[in-house]
Symmetry: C2
Subunit: 297 residues, 2 copies
Amino acid sequence: MEDVLAPKASVIGFIGLGVMGGSMAKHILDAGYELHIYNRTREKGKDLVEQGAIWEEKVADLARKCNCVITMVGFPRDVEEIYFGSQGLIENTKHGTFLVDMTTSSPSLALRIYEAAERKKLHVLDAPVSGGDKGARDGSLSIMVGGKEDTFKAVLPLFQVMGKNIVYQGRAGSGQHTKMANQIAIASNMIGVCEAISYALKAGLDPEKVLASISQGAAGSWSLSNLAPRMIAGNFDPGFYIKHFIKDMKIALEAADGMGLDTPGLEMALSMYKKLASLGHENDGTQALFRLYSDKE
Amino acid sequence: MEDVLAPKASVIGFIGLGVMGGSMAKHILDAGYELHIYNRTREKGKDLVEQGAIWEEKVADLARKCNCVITMVGFPRDVEEIYFGSQGLIENTKHGTFLVDMTTSSPSLALRIYEAAERKKLHVLDAPVSGGDKGARDGSLSIMVGGKEDTFKAVLPLFQVMGKNIVYQGRAGSGQHTKMANQIAIASNMIGVCEAISYALKAGLDPEKVLASISQGAAGSWSLSNLAPRMIAGNFDPGFYIKHFIKDMKIALEAADGMGLDTPGLEMALSMYKKLASLGHENDGTQALFRLYSDKE
């Protein structure tokens, strides 16, 4: 099964051309693959078509023409529609097609897709990513993969044009579960970063000097190094949208509950981010959690 | 005032020879300073005396002989006794002496020491550290300093034999406040790390592979890289004691409350660690927070 997805030997479909998906699809095109694309808003595929991608009017049309389809959409309900709708992937792809969902979505949905696809002799992976728009642009995404290991090996060349840290995590759903673990670690840490910076400011310290003291040691984290400076500058522009983080935390909390695991830190973070969203900040970046500490909203 | 604390030109006192203080004092001795030492338990000074340090029976004796005294003890009540007791430093040091408290202690106590010392024409700094026993041994501590800037400059040569990342943070108390910001950032993140690892295990993932996926990206942190592997291995040996972390979090929470700052993440972490202590785990390392997720205690 290896090498089936080398350039020239295969036709790739890409569904979902947002900030992440658009850059990822571009890497596939640049690597020499024949690329068919679909997006709800046609406008977002325009640049790719100019560079040689083939626009498809319907998911079903794209599905029939490709031997590997990647999906990178917004919410689990979008994933569900694309895979299970009557015009969807499972109904319309040829036997032997590879279906790779790179959306951050629910582990239980990943399992349902896998099981439905197995019955149709399709090869399915769940392969969410981290690394943000920058990682997507640079082709340096971290990719966390669940599904059969043979399927993983077959799709690996394609992953390698989009990412750097590509880890096979185990059976179907494991990629999504790993991404959930990632989001859970981030959730509570965001609270700690906000509280540390708020404390420093309240104490009359220079927050830049505080970061110089604490960001390289035991308190150090990606969020402290990368998001705290934005908090201090009052820059709440989205790197990662609050509305998407809320989606991820809801999935994680539901999965944790389903496994009988209490996650009080995750619950606290989710409720704080929901409060932010209710105040109209759902399109801010996740560093805007700092508003709850500084705005006294 | 610079160069007053060069080796040969000065006599240094060191009070508190625990795991951290013992290593720090050794570096001062190795740098060529005349070193007088005191510790509640004499035994802990034995090695240093063999290497040339001079043992003092009382804090007051040490105080009278030195032109710079460093304190590195356990709790704020110990600091208070050493500075304000009738046999203490403020009563017994000569005018012009430098007093440097490197204990992680209360910012308000640091301010009280500073003010009392000013009246006696003593030069005071609060200079807590991070980097743990390893940082103390390697001379690579991070040192966060509050007090007058001239005093900081005078003591800098001495800090440089103990640490690497030495940052002047501002007026008296600023060193302690910076250390509190450090502990606050760690507190919530520990919850996130425990929940991420617990989730991964519950989901049937290989936690080592999960760390390979998530520890280099946006979920990455010192605690995730250094403490999660110990959690996974069930190794709860102390790097940093729970009892000391509880002390620090209590100081931080009191200081935050005093400034009118809500820190729900810090409060949650403190209550979880207090629970661990009540279960008899106060001498475990901070990574033993994982017990609350895994033992179902």
